[in-house]
Every structure is written in structure tokens, then in C-alpha cells.
Amino acid sequence: MSLNVNWLKHFHLFTLASTTRSVSFLFALILLSGVVACSSNDDEPIYRNQILAFGTIVEVTLFDIDETEGDRLSKDIREMMEEFHHHWHAWQPGPLTALNNALSQTGYSKISAEDGQLIAQSLTLAKTSEGLFNPILGKLIALWGFQGEETPLSPPSKQNIEEAMTLIPSIDKFTINSDDKGTHLSVASGKPIHFDLGGFAKGVIVDRSIEYLRRQGVNNAIINAGGDLRAIGSAGERPWRIGIRHPRDLGVFASITINKDESIFTSGDYERYFEYEGKRYHHIIDPRNGYPADSVASVTVLHHDSATADAAATALFIAGTQQWQRIAKSMGVEHVMLIDKENKVYLTPELAQRMEYEVSPPPVVEIRELP
């Protein structure tokens, strides 16, 4: 049975205020309370599992899949994610660190066609984001200490940040060519190269997990990797319902229902941070100045593919309230919500139509068209 609890909750509040005015509403309320009672006692055939993979908690939600099959699919997804994590890990010895070493030493490396495609995609997103999503910030991220599982204790010195900034190569210096001998990645910068696909790789592996599920015949699922997700299909007769975390509270700020196949990625200043001498330093570093971006509290992007949503959430967080529209347009992203530090909401008309706020009173909202 279809059930939208959130809608019923609001209906309930409205009806309380109207009790003495409308017997019809009361009658409807009684009917609806019966609907709620029936529905909430129905066990929906939803398989839920949490796995530790890709350095985070991955939530696997599948509709109408039994436990044995769900466990098998979860295990396969976990193995796929761990393999991908190792392959693209920017800090532990593996294929990406070998690539970084080769590019730093000789400015050239032969790579697989698949790797070339993924790096090319990351460089394209870097260009369309005007460099706000930047996959070669490895040295700067390492300087801040956000590359490990433990958050750092203090910020780096101003001098060290300025020095690291001079070592970031330009995106335009990279070229990828394919011929009958293979795929070739070269860079003409003379600077040390440190690819770190952290702001993009999670999106790629979420996409691949969904592709895997589809190949296995699963068409109703959610893969949520550390708070970033892609949902396909529905939960039977009702759509998947997704909460968007409050950036300054443990609760949910807003919610949205999924339309068949969509990714929702959020970047927030609460995800990884430390406080030093009374000031908060979070993990989203602005490539333009080397410091944590300081304009908004969170950005949520809804897009059909996770890889773009992932890069766009990072880029638009850095772009902030003044520049996000231009960058969103350039990246081809239409559904965007920014929440600033005072909980004011900026969002596109496309997303405004679908957003339901879960906070009371509702936030101040400013709808902005993309250019």
C-alpha cells in the first residue's frame, strides 16, 4: 500500500487546527488513521544491509529481494568497491600512486583505456567547474591532513599553504591520447603530480554498483555510500523517499522522492572537520586560496549520474552563494540546493518544486534561475 508518512504528518497538524470547523475533515482523518494503522503494520519487502567499503559505510537497500540474495549482492558490491578503492587510492601504494610517481618523474604514463576514460572525465569536470572541482589537489589535501581516516589536529602554516599552491599544476597541461599502442597520459608542467579523485571516485563506484545490480536483474535499489546515493526504481507502489540531513543538527532538514533513477550527493562542512583555537576547519579545500571554503554549510545536488553529482556538490560548495548558478550551468546540473550558515536555502526552480521541508518553521527560501 502506498504510504507517504510525511504528507500524513502535515495533514494531521492541519486537521488539528481545523477540528471545530469541518466535520468532513474529521471524517477524512478517521479514515486516514485507519490507513496509517494498516500500512505501518505491513512489512514492506525491503532488504537493508550496511557494509564497510570504500573507507565508509555503504548502505544497500533492495526492494523485493530475499536475504540470501541480498547478502550475495552486498558481498559482490563490497568486493567491487574495495578493489576500486585500492586501484584509485591516492595515498596507499597501488596503481594510482604508481601513476602519480611516473607522471611526476617523466611527465608520461601509459594507462588502460578504462583508466584513461575515468581520468578524462575528471579533467572535463574540472574544466566545466572552472577548477573548483580539482582532481590534482593531492599535495594540498595531504598538507591539511585530510587524507587519512583520522582528522588532523591543527591547520598547516600560511607559508606551507602558499608553497603547496605554487605546486598545483594547471588542468590544461594534461593530455590523453589513444592509438593502436594504447592510451597515453602526459603532462607538461614540470611539477609533482598527485591525482586524488576523492571528490569524484565515490560517484563513479556508486554508478558502477547500480550498473552491477541492473545486470543482476535488480531494478529497485538504493546504494548509499557514506551519505551520497543513487536510487533506481521504487519501493513497490511508492517512490523511494530520501532525507537530506540538517547541516547544523542531527535531524533531517528536507526530503524528496526519487523519480525512477536519480543520484543525490551532498557536501557539507560537518562531514570531516577539526576545531583549532575556536575555529572550525573542514575538508573541502578551495583550490583558489588553499583554505577550507567558507560560504555555505551544505550543498545538495540531484543528477542522473553519480559521478557528475559528486564533483558538482564539491564545486558548488566552493562556489558558494554568489557563483553557484554559473558553475551549475557550466556543469550541466539543474537540481541544486545550497544551505548557508544561517539555514537560508538557495535552490533552483526544478528542485524547489519537489522539496519538502522537515523543519519547523520552514526555512527562508530563495529560488534562483540558472543563467
Binding site: H12, L29, Q50, L52, I57, R241, I242, G243, I244, R245
Partner: protein, 120 residues
Amino acid sequence: MTRVDLLIMIIAVAALPLLYLQLWGPNYRGTEVNIIVADQKPQRHSLLRDQTLAIKGKLGDSIITINNGKAAFIESPCRNKQCIHSGWHSRNGDTTACLPNRITLSVVGDGIARFDSVTF
């Protein structure tokens, strides 16, 4: 207002507390806590039984306490203690983790969760 209207109104007002409980009451409360250590079978513990658990993770033992229907990390060998700072968890769907120690804690219940998933 007819007698029928009055009767309907009385029944409806009487039904409101039930509806409140249905929407915000026990259905959103968790009944069990699901603890997962990487590469191990998940373990479930009732939220109705107060106890303290020592869960061995990658770095050492994380101490999880269940008290009065709520669960929390109270000690952990990680550096930043974010798992401890996340506080108590009691609602169906609440999740926290000590990633350095590879342990997750999530609350599950019989009722429906408000959301199928949460982005953060």
C-alpha cells in the same frame, strides 16, 4: 450540528492520540541495535536490555552502552572520538560509526522508517 456530526467529532478527537502515537510514537523507536565490525557477521542486541558491550575492532575495543532504549559509543580507541560525540541513538534508522575502528552501530525497529535513505 447533528448528533451524528457530534458523534463523529468525539470519535475523531478520541482517535487523535492514537494517530499521534502511530506517527511519532513507538513505530519510530528502535527495538534493536545492529553492530557491524568489518568482515564479521553483524550482531544484534535488544535496546530493551541495558548492557555494556566491548566490541573488538581494528584498533582495539570500542565500548558501546545500551541504556533505557538508547545506544551510544562511550569509549573508543580512535583519535577524534567522533563516534562518542555523536551521542545517543534510539530512533529506527539512526546510524553512527567509528570508521577508524571499523565499527558501525545502527538502530533498527519493527515500524517503518521515515526515509528510505538519508544524504549527508
